[in-house]
Symmetry: C2
Subunit: 142 residues, 2 copies
Amino acid sequence: MDDSFDLGQFLPYALNQAAEAASLGFQARYRQRYGMLRTEWRVLFHLGRHGDMTAKEICDRASLHKTKVSRAVHALEEKRFLRRTEQIHDRRHETLSLTPKGQAVYADLYKAARAYDAALSAQFTSQERDVLDRCLKKLAQS
Amino acid sequence: MDDSFDLGQFLPYALNQAAEAASLGFQARYRQRYGMLRTEWRVLFHLGRHGDMTAKEICDRASLHKTKVSRAVHALEEKRFLRRTEQIHDRRHETLSLTPKGQAVYADLYKAARAYDAALSAQFTSQERDVLDRCLKKLAQS
DNA sequence: TATTGTTAGTTACAAATCAAACTAATATCT
DNA sequence: AGATATTAGTTTGATTTGTAACTAACAATA
């Protein structure tokens, strides 16, 4: 019964420690440079990457709760990174689109994200990275 | 430049999604059954696993901030899962020890954790699990 | 033995998160 | 058309976290 099962071996714990450590470095970038929170970065990313969409679509794509998205959108709007337009045929929907300023920020963070990811990946072989990706995806689904 | 680098490929994001999903199921156990928070579970685990120690030692072992530990200790004390004893030779230190009740809870959660971990691991081959462990450990250090 | 520095742990306040209730617009059903 | 249900998004209040200042006990140095 007592064969050295420690927290380090417990997958949820190990995942959390890794996730926290991995987030830290990049977080510094959007926090310090643009005063953004994590959810704001995610929303910005989705808009920059996939073009205009409604808050609901972002919720679904990013699996974020609508209150989180709502607040992130407000914050990004205040920073003039995005603007919202009511849709004519259904006034419940608002299309969100990045302003030029928002696009510039996206471009910067996108590049930084790729670089950061590359740096993290550098410690693994490409096989390891493949396994890691596959495992993480499986875990995220279950 | 635009070769489909999506958030899913971004390691910090993938790690967070996986970590969140993996935590959920187990969280339900200590939350619903014992009204515990994550930090409380970690503190309980360390005490159950490694025997009496001070809050500071828990901070170091679990890499948790002292305020978090302080609050968790209070909460566990209120639930009568642990008690504290001032050390005679240095009254700044208090030794924390689980009560019988706390030990019972630890035993239950320990078993549950192992089972949960086994269930998660079941979706991987043992090679995959090895790679995963190794990668997560590396990431946690950097 | 004062003075200054360190360490363990707590408290207090601000920021962030979560859940649930709410508003306004549209859809559906009778 | 009128009542009821859904949907997009917001607001609110309670819980949780993070940061920094604080207290009390001990150590070190002069």
